[in-house]
Structure formats: structure tokens, C-alpha cells
């Protein structure tokens, strides 16, 4: 199948080329600053023509990002960025289309668009800022807030089961899912670059800290003190090892994952799972997405599948060849037509 290529820049670009002159209005200490930095770095590294980047957003703190980037940008309405971006990509497959969204924007009001974008596999990258809270409306619980959490609208604790974005992506036949923390800029850029090279919908869940309304929500996973034991950084073809000394590993026991330690109870490197992000079978990817301790980070899944826009362009080309019509006039003049 022929695929539309996104044109590359003739000149090398830097991170600064992609930052706009607008004042960044996120709170000091917000994870957004680091995310913005990684996005600009990734855009420069991916090297597409600057005019062919398109950043689309919905509503929420995450969704201010188009204003901060020196690209074409569209700040939409709550939850609808995925739908707006779909229209853009369908019309213009030659654009590198990005969506910045949050857990409220994409998991609640825009949940429907989110799963359908993933199912259709348009070549769009979604940065899902997951801070487990509604920040811009000042602290209400979101669909990813952990059960029991006290927030402004759950004074006695939430009584809702939170969504795990990775489960939604895999349940929607997603072709790319990655998870990364906002305080790991190098990993963030690496994951974003991988997404930029993926042909299909790429979802990046960014564990983001909201210093005001959900501070340290991800601390167990992301803080310097505890992250080595609570993050599993996945690399394709590498054994799933983690911990400060990389002695802990993940073993498959029946249909569940378990944490084991090298050298204990006869566990050797042979017992440790090797990550295969390219396997079509999503079963292990799902187990990894659901794993709570450690939390799987990096690219969990990256598989090839035809994109919506390529299939559409192919249909157009096929129909154009088999039906030699040039104009709607030809259509109107075919069938039951008569002269008077």
C-alpha cells in the first residue's frame, strides 16, 4: 500500500524553533513545562517540515500547549480534540498531527472519541497528561482518580473505579501505547520520538504531577526515592529487569506476572520475560499495562497496521481508476437521464 509521507525540513531545526513567544501560564512546578520541552525537542529531532506539524487540543491545563508551540495549532473544545484531529489528518495525511489532552478531556467527556480514534488507527499521536484530577476547574476527581480519593467533589472519597488508559487503548485494538513520567525528560523524549515514527494512533500516557490539586499523586512511581523499585523501563528485546541494582525481574506465572529476584529461589535471567513490543498478541501488553508494582513504563506496544487515512486514499485511488468520472456532472448525467 502506498502511504503519504510527511515532508522533512530542508534545514535542521532546534527545540527553540518550536517554542512560541507566548507566555507559558502553567503553575510553577507543573509537569506541563517538562512535557512542552520534550515535545519541542521531539519535533526538532523527528525533523518534519515546521509547517507540517499540527498540534490539536481540547480543554484543560494540557490543552494550552498549542499556544506555546510555534506550529499550526488548534485549541478546540472539551473532549473533542481527537475528533478535530481526525478531520485534519483525513484531509491532510501529509501533516504530523499531535493531540494534547488530559485525563478529564480524553477519559471522561472525550472518552468516546478517544476509543474510536484508537480503533481507526489514524496516524495521530496523543499526549495524555494524566494527573488524576481536574486541574483547570480546580480539583474535582477525574476518571483516573484512585478509588477513595478525597477531592472537592468527593469529600468522603470517590466511589468510582478508575480507568487505566492502557486498558482502554488495548481494548480498542491500539497499535501503540507508551507510559512515561513527567520527571524523566530523557525517557519522555525517547517515547515521543518513537511515537512520531509510528504509523498509526500512538497514545502516550504521561504520569503528570499537578502540584496544586493532586500533588504527589504518582509519587510512589515517580519520586527519586522509590522509582527504581516501582518503575519497569521496557525496552524491546531486553529482559524486564528493574530495581536500583537491576536484580528484580518479571516472570510469567500461569496467566499472571510476578516479581522475582535474580539469584533467589533459583531464579536466573532465563526466567525473566523479554519485552516484545511488536508482537500482535496484546495479552502480555495488557498484563504489563495493568501491572501495579512495578508500573511498566516506556513503549508497551508498537505494532504495524494499516492506517485509516492510507486505506481511504487507497479506496479513492482504486475508485478513481475503475470509475472514470472527472466531475459530478458525469455522475448527474449517468443513469436515468433523458433529453427534452
Amino acid at each position: 500500500m502506498s502511504t503519504t509521507q510527511i515532508p522533512l525540513s530542508n534545514t535542521p531545526l532546534t527545540k527553540d524553533d518550536f517554542l512560541s513567544d507566548q507566555m507559558v501560564k502553567w503553575c510553577p512546578g507543573c509537569g506541563g513545562h517538562a512535557i512542552l520541552n520534550s515535545v519541542a525537542q521531539t519535533f526538532a529531532r523527528a525533523g518534519f517540515r515546521q509547517e507540517n506539524y499540527m498540534m490539536v487540543s481540547g480543554i484543560g491545563c494540557s490543552s494550552r500547549i498549542p499556544y506555546y508551540l510555534n506550529t499550526y495549532g488548534f485549541h478546540g473544545i472539551h473532549g473533542r480534540a481527537a475528533a478535530i484531529a481526525s478531520g485534519i489528518k483525513i484531509v491532510r495525511p501529509d501533516l504530523s498531527v499531535w493531540v494534547s489532552s488530559g485525563d478529564g478531556d480524553s477519559m471522561a467527556i472525550g472518552g468516546n472519541h478517544f476509543i474510536h480514534l484508537v480503533r481507526r488507527n489514524l496516524d495521530i499521536t496523543v499526549l495524555l497528561f494524566n494527573n488524576q484530577i481536574y486541574g483547570l476547574t480546580k480539583g474535582q476527581y477525574s476518571p483516573t482518580t484512585p478509588m477513595g480519593k478525597i477531592t472537592k467533589t468527593s469529600p468522603f472519597g470517590t466511589i468510582e473505579h478508575p480507568f487505566n488508559p492502557g486498558e482502554l487503548v488495548l481494548g480498542s485494538q491500539g497499535t501503540f501505547f507508551a507510559r512515561v513520567a513527567d520527571n524523566s525528560p530523557k525517557q519522555m523524549t525517547e517515547v515521543m520520538y518513537a511515537a512520531s515514527q509510528h504509523k498509526g494512533t500512538a497514545i502516550i500516557e504521561i504520569l503528570e504531577n499537578c502540584v496544586i490539586f493532586a500533588d504527589k499523586a504518582h509519587a510512589r512511581i515517580t519520586s527519586r526515592e522509590t522509582r527504581d523499585d516501582n518503575q519497569l523501563w521496557l525496552e524491546h528485546g531486553k529482559p524486564m529487569l528493574f530495581g536500583a541494582e537491576m536484580k528484580k525481574g518479571i516472570r510469567l506465572n500461569g496467566t499472571t506476572l510476578e516479581v522475582v529476584t535474580l539469584g533467589e529461589n533459583g531464579v536466573t535471567l532465563q526466567d525473566i520475560l523479554v519485552h516484545d513490543q511488536h508482537t500482535d498478541d496484546p495479552a502480555l501488553h495488557l498484563l504489563l499495562a495493568e501491572m501495579k508494582a512495578p508500573v511498566a513504563m516506556g513503549v508497551l506496544r508498537s505494532v504495524e497496521a494499516p492506517t485509516y487515512e492510507d486505506l481511504l486514499e487507497e479506496q479513492i485511488a482504486t475508485q478513481h481508476t475503475s470509475h472514470p468520472v472527472q466531475s459530478i456532472e458525469d455522475v448527474m448525467n449517468s443513469g436515468d437521464v433523458f433529453d427534452i
Binding site: 512560541s20 507566548q22 517540515r49 515546521q50 509547517e51 507540517n52 499540527m54 490539536v56 487540543s57 480543554i59 498549542p66 499556544y67 510555534n70 506550529t71 499550526y72 495549532g73 488548534f74 485549541h75 478546540g76 473544545i77 473533542r80 481527537a82 475528533a83 478535530i84 484531529a85 481526525s86 478531520g87 485534519i88 489528518k89 483525513i90 484531509v91 491532510r92 501529509d94 501533516l95 468516546n112 472519541h113 474510536h116 481511504l312 479506496q315 479513492i316 482504486t318 475508485q319 478513481h320 475503475s322 470509475h323 472514470p324 468520472v325 466531475s327 459530478i328 456532472e329 455522475v331 448527474m332 448525467n333 443513469g335 436515468d336 437521464v337 433523458f338 433529453d339 427534452i340
Partner: protein, 613 residues
Amino acid sequence: MSKRTIIELDRVVVKFAGDSGDGMQLTGTLFSEAAAKAGNDLSTFPDYPAEIRAPQNTVSGVSGFQVHIGRKKVMTSGDHFDVLVAMNPASLKANLKMARKGATIILNTDAFADEKALEKAGYTTHPFEDNSLNSFNVIKAPVQTLVREATADLGLDPKSVDKTRNMFALGILLFIFNKTLDSTNEYIQAKFGKKPLMAEANKRALEAGYIYADNMEALESTFHVDAAPLPKGKYRNVIGNVATAWGLIAAAERSGLPLFLGSYPITPATDILIELSQHRALGVKTFQAEDEIAGICSAIGASYAGALAITTTSGPGLSLKSEAIGLAVITELPLVIVDVQRAGPSTGMPTKSEQSDLYQALFGRNGECPCLVMAASSPADCFYAAFEAARLSLEHMTPVILLTDGYIGNGSQLFRIPRIKDLPEIHPPLAQANDTSYQPFARDPQTLVRKWAVPGTEGLRHRVGGLEKTDGAGAVSTDPLNHQKMVDLRAQKVAKVADNIPEQTLEGHPESDTLIISWGGTYGAVSSAVTQLQQSGTPVAHAHFRYIMPLPRNTSEILGRYKKIIVCELNGGQFVNYLRMTHPGHNYAQFNKVQGQPFLVEELVAHIQSVIQ
């Protein structure tokens, strides 16, 4: 058979009625095609239940298709029918009250032998015995028995054979009106080419009906409707929703832009999506979205990306799109929103027609949020209205809501096929690459239209969005005076579209004291009523509005000429109240009907006469 006389008619109205699932919509369409091919002018009205297979033999399950053919201009699908084909008791029960006196009624007698069917239809006495049909010319045909006989040697199961009953009925009609079987046989061949037995069964049923009619003693004469004296040209029959789709494609061609449709299926608008999805060969991109909101939001994205972007829907879907229409208004992007109105509120009566979305189109959004509103007047006019909606949207960088309705969207009409090069060129205000003076909200001083900078264009990177922006530079702003200015500019921009649309025209007898006003899909009925009034010595003027927001620039002057103004519309009085609001001080009267059915010409005539006297 003895030679019959052929009676020449100016016009005739035929109604096909049966259970939903009896194929009456198809029968009516094929009869219309045969009439169109013979050069008759025509107008059709499919009237069917929302259910796909409604409870059998009930009045609520009756599916009807009315077609009005003439050798003179045909403006409506007709108030009363001259011929009724009733496939079962329920369809007779449901339709008899709309029969013209002396009408020919063709009945499938097999169904009338079924006591349960009679009971379900609500008959307490048998209509063949209770004198209710005395004033009609009744033709009884045991359709089921005869199609089974005609196809006996084909070895088909009874269910398949019964599906050909509609062709038998059509055969009778084609004989009575001296039409050939050719176009129907061609259709059957195309439709059942891969099922030769079904093709043969349908052809035999059609021919059996034709021969049955020829052999009927009761049929003393047949009828002929001569070709209408239409201007020379290429013609075809077209349904409104298809014409809408074609008009949009034509606009894409005349603007040089790709066409994108984001839409979610909803009765009675779905046929536009279906039609546009056929035309991949022309590069048309249709996107069946996950919901109404994604339909319009994808279209807004497509518009930002440089396409002629469309979303199509019906009333409840327009409600869901409201917030996104506001986004298109504030980002000042072109977008055509087609609303094929149906009876509301809420789900209402999905297959029935109304004009009750006008308030929603004009006012149904948060904030000060003006956009263009237009209305198509007939099935064929849907082509031109859709083209015009796209032209205005693209040239003025503003969303346009085009109102059609179930009656004209599903109805069909003879359509003179235009040449695309005869349609106006459309000039979207595209920004030029590397225009160093480019600002997203800098405006043309005359029209107040901003320039459209499409992603990928060098040197024009910019951001738009739902937040208020500064005039010119387009930076996010909550400055009080800037907001006032932007609100005023957006309103003025829409108002200035009046300079780019024709003046309102008058029909009927413009010198009269009384002005009849209509808009949208009621044109045929109101115009026919105005003609009848004139013939009966009550001349009135008639203004049919196509442009609603803004109104044509001479509206005030026209309204000022008349002592009495009667606004006729299929809602509770939405356009008349809009006129009262925008043009106060006139003597407005109103005639409203909210029954999910089109105006009858006779009720319009009667009402207007009563108001004048």
C-alpha cells in the same frame, strides 16, 4: 381486448400504499422514473413509518408513496390522489380520506379476504360490503394469487414470490397510464442480475399486472399525461437529499477544494451521507463519525486543514452540534451544516417533516453567536441551495446552517441537470505563503472576512481556538473592549453577507394589499395556493425566503408595501416571530401547522381567504 379510449389528463396524483416491507417506496420510485422518462413533470412524497417492519396490517405500519405527475408545472406532491393502490386493508383505511371523489382504487383482494387483517386495520364491516367505496372506481385484483400463478413453474418459495406483488401492482399502473415497462425491466435486470430466478419472477409479476389490467372489463379507458413543455435540456428525477450531496460536490469543484463530510447516521438526513460516500472516485472523503459531535468536530478540523467541510444531520443532531457550531463561529472557519428537519422535540416523529428547527438554527448556541441560515425550497432546489450555502460559507469564512426537511429531502422532483461551468466560481480567501503581514484575524475592510491560512503553508504558522482572540493578531485575550469589538465584528461580518446575496423577489400579484410569506420546503404548496387564489379572484403577493440570516437587504422595503402579511410555516410561528423581532411594526398574521405533514394547497387557500375576508 376491445380498443379503449385514452383520456388525456393535465395532471394525476397516484398513491401507493401497503405494509412497510411491501415495497411501496420502490414501486412509487419506479413509477416516477417511468413518468420522468416520458417527460412528465413530477413531485413525489414518501410517507413511511419509522419502524423498518412495523406491525403488519396496522394503520400505523402503512408505508405510502405519493407521486404527482403532470404535463404542466408540478409544484407539490398533491393534496388528494386520483389513484390509490392499496395492498392491504390498513392501507385503504389509512388513505381513503385523502381520495378525490371518483378516484380509482386498486385493491389486492387476497388481503381483504383475511379477517384478521381487516380487524387489525380497524374495520368492523367489510369495506367491499359497507358502501364506503361506492363513490369510487374500484378495481379488485387477487394480486397474491396471480403472482403465484405467474411464477408457479420457477420453483421459488412462496415468501420470495410474495415479494413480487408490488411489481404486479406497478404493472397495472403502468398499463393504466400508458407507460412502457422498459425502465422497470431495466431496473429489475440491474437489481437482480445475480439472482436470475428473482429477476424472472419480478418481470413476470410486472407483466402479469400489465396484462391483467388490459383484460379488465371494468377498465373502460386508460389515461395519458403528455410530456410537460419544459425548457430544452437534460433531465432526471432526483430526491432532495441526493441533490444536496451533488450541490456540495459541485461547490467543491467550483472552489477547487477537496470535499470532506463528517456525519453520523440520522433520519431523514442519512441519505446525504450515503450518497456522498459513493463518490470516492471524485475524491470525496466521508467520515462516519462515532457521534454527532465527532461529525461536526471532524468537519471543523477538515475546514482548518483546507477542505470544503460539511456535516449533515437532523434536529436532535443539530442540538448535539451546538457547542461545536460556536467553535466554528469563533474560529471563523467555513463549514456547511445541513439540517434535514423532522418533527420534534426530542426524537419526535423521525420520519415526519416539519420546519421547527428555525429557532435552533438562529439562536441555539451559547454566547453572541451568529451564523448564516438558509433554506432550500424543493427537492431539486436542494442542489442549488447546498451550492450557495457552500459558496457563502467559503467566501465569508463563517458556518452556514442549511435547512431542508424530510419532505423535500426524501421527496423527488424533475431536475434539469446543470452544467458545472455555468455555476459561479467560488473564491475562498486563502492566505498566500510567506505573507509577512499575515495575521489570523486581520480582516478585509469591506466584508470583514479574515484570511484562511492552511497548515503546511510556509510562513503562516498560527493558532486558533475557542478562546476569545484579539482582533488582528489573534492572541488569547479577556480584554473587555476587545471582546465587545470581536462580538460586534462577528455580527457585522454575517450581516454584510446581505451584500453578496440577491434581493428578495416577489411572485404572484405584487401589487396586491396582502403578502403571503413562506420559507423552505413549503414553496410548492404555498406557490400553488397563491396561483389558485389568483385564479379564483383573490390576487395576493408571495415572498418565499431562501436567505434567513441575514435576510435580503430589501426585506424591510418589501414588508412596508403591504397592509397585511400572512406568514405560513410548518411550526408554531418561528419565522413570523423572527420577522416581528427584526422588522417590527408590520401587520403580521400567521398560519401554522405542526402535524408532521406538509401543507395541503386547499387548506392554505381556505385559510388565506378567511384572513382576507
